[in-house]
């Protein structure tokens, strides 16, 4: 008799204890959610550098983060005013107006960025070339007057495109740049990367512990991602509308830059002309690559390299990648057998292909 009563009672006690435990676990996890929300997310979006820029900061003091966002935007504007080919008072415009005449005194920043650009020109055999400005101007892609240029004029522009004719001189009284007659410097293929690095340095200097900097699709991340694991960045699908991605790169403390023919273009006579030029022909590069993504610690390098590799194409691009250290890449190649995605060895585990229509090749390097 005493056993009969004893048994259900113990079950009731046990049941009560179990349910209480479950409830405590749920309440605890709910509290944890609230706890992680005390990490503030501060975001600012603006239109600068001819594109949409977005900076996202994470931290505890939202007022401080807001001030840092103000400083970041001012820094971007300051650098745009030094480096933009479209701003008449910029260092680049001053150099361009004096082409073939006299050395122009520029800021140390503009001078050293131009030197970095020339270094990449040398390493890429001119596939990347900051003197591409004349060609860019003739086509006018992204402006109202975009048109296929006159072949004679284009030939002239190609002849003027030569980084070897640019000299950057460091004198006691400052940095000077001299270009050959008719040359036009355009840092469009590298400036966003450089500005990304400057913003990153500013953020770190201001004590920001984690951030995502997005300058028109050139992204840099540092610190820990707001979600568990690494930062997850979608890579723009070359054949789909902007915002749709073909794969995801899981990264930390790097910059990720993608270049492709889809970014800016115009159509004329049924032909699509894009904005990445082959400096040897003056025409949009006839690349066998649909897009190039470079992942590198330094955004300046990632920016220049993504453009250069697109122009160089698959074979030359792969062999350059083999020479470079600490640079990972995702190449989307247009092959007869379909669209093939090549991922370098160092990234292979951190890359997730999302488009089932694309095939991933065995890892590269």
């Amino acid at each position: 008799m005493s056993i009969k009563i004893h048994l259900p009672r113990s079950i009731i006690y046990l049941g009560t204890a179990a349910v209480t435990l479950i409830l405590i676990i749920f309440l605890y996890s709910a509290n944890r959610d609230n706890g992680s929300r005390s990490l503030q997310k501060m975001q600012r979006e603006s239109y600068l550098l001819g594109t949409i820029i977005r900076i996202t900061l994470y931290g505890e003091d939202s007022k401080k983060l807001n001030n840092v966002l103000d400083l970041s935007m001012k820094e971007i504007e300051r650098l745009e005013n030094l480096l933009s080919v479209n701003i008449p008072s910029s260092d680049v415009s001053l150099v361009n107006r004096a082409s073939g005449e006299y050395p122009v005194k520029v800021s140390e920043e503009a001078g050293s960025l131009l030197e970095r650009a020339i270094e990449w020109s040398e390493r890429t055999g001119g596939a990347f070339d900051p003197t591409v400005g004349k060609i860019v101007k003739l086509w006018g892609i992204g402006t109202e007057s975009a048109a296929v240029p006159d072949p004679e004029q284009l030939k002239e522009a190609v002849d003027m495109t030569d980084f070897r004719k640019v000299s950057v001189l460091h004198e006691v009284n400052g940095t000077f740049v001299q270009t050959a007659k008719g040359q036009r410097i355009d840092l469009g293929g590298i400036a966003k990367g450089y500005i990304t690095e400057k913003v990153k340095a500013l953020l770190i200097n201001e004590g920001v512990s984690s951030a995502l900097i997005d300058l028109g699709g050139n992204i840099a991340v540092f610190g820990s991602s707001p979600k568990p694991g690494k930062w997850k960045l979608g890579l723009q699908h070359p054949f789909m509308p902007r915002g749709e991605y073909f794969g995801i790169a899981e990264v930390s403390d790097v910059s990720v830059v993608t270049s492709g023919a889809y970014e800016r273009y115009f159509e004329s006579g049924g032909i699509r002309y894009h904005h990445i030029f082959d400096t040897a022909t003056g025409y949009p590069a006839l690349s066998d690559l649909a897009s190039v993504t470079i992942i590198s610690e330094d955004s300046t390098d990632a920016d220049a390299l993504s453009t250069a590799l697109f122009v160089m194409g698959f074979e030359r691009g792969i062999s350059l990648l083999r020479e470079l250290k600490n640079v990972e890449a995702v190449l989307v190649a247009k092959k007869t057998e379909g669209t093939i995605v090549y991922v370098t060895k160092g990234l292979s585990k951190g890359f997730l292909l999302k488009d089932p229509a694309m095939k991933k090749a065995p890892e590269v390097q």
């Binding site: 009672r9 349910v19 902007r242 915002g243 991605y245």
Partner: protein, 127 residues
């Protein structure tokens, strides 16, 4: 059945705890799967409008002007799209329907961004 007064009280407590955890779980479930989202329309980095997107909502249209140019937006049934634009490339129209958090359409010439807020699979998209 031989249940004592203390056992009965314990059973009531047990039932109440179950009921409370049921309600808590229910609330958590409902909030975890939102059927209401919101889209932010920003121009030049400034928020113009926040549009509530709800499943089953009838179609609504908005026009956003910029220096004489325009983008026509349409929201219906929990999604939003740019359906007409007078910019040269019309990237924003080609983007089609924005349906899930993180989806965005950008019109560079008109400095316009439409983005669905909330948690997305990725932290950003490079292009």
């Amino acid at each position: 059945m031989g249940m004592k007064r203390g056992d009965r009280a314990m059973l009531y407590i047990l039932v109440m705890i179950l009921a409370v955890s049921g309600v808590v779980l229910g609330i958590r479930y409902m909030t975890a799967v939102p059927d209401v989202m919101s889209a932010e329309i920003t121009q030049d980095g400034k928020l113009l409008q926040r549009v509530l997107l709800k499943k089953g909502d009838p179609a609504r249209e908005f026009v956003v002007e910029y220096n004489g140019g325009l983008n026509r937006l349409k929201a219906e049934d929990g999604k939003i799209a740019v359906i007409e634009a007078d910019c040269p490339d019309k990237d924003c129209v080609k983007r089609g329907w924005l349906k899930k958090p993180g989806d965005s359409a950008i019109c560079l010439p008109h400095r316009l961004v439409i983005r669905i807020t909330g948690e997305s699979e990725v932290d950003g998209v490079t292009w």
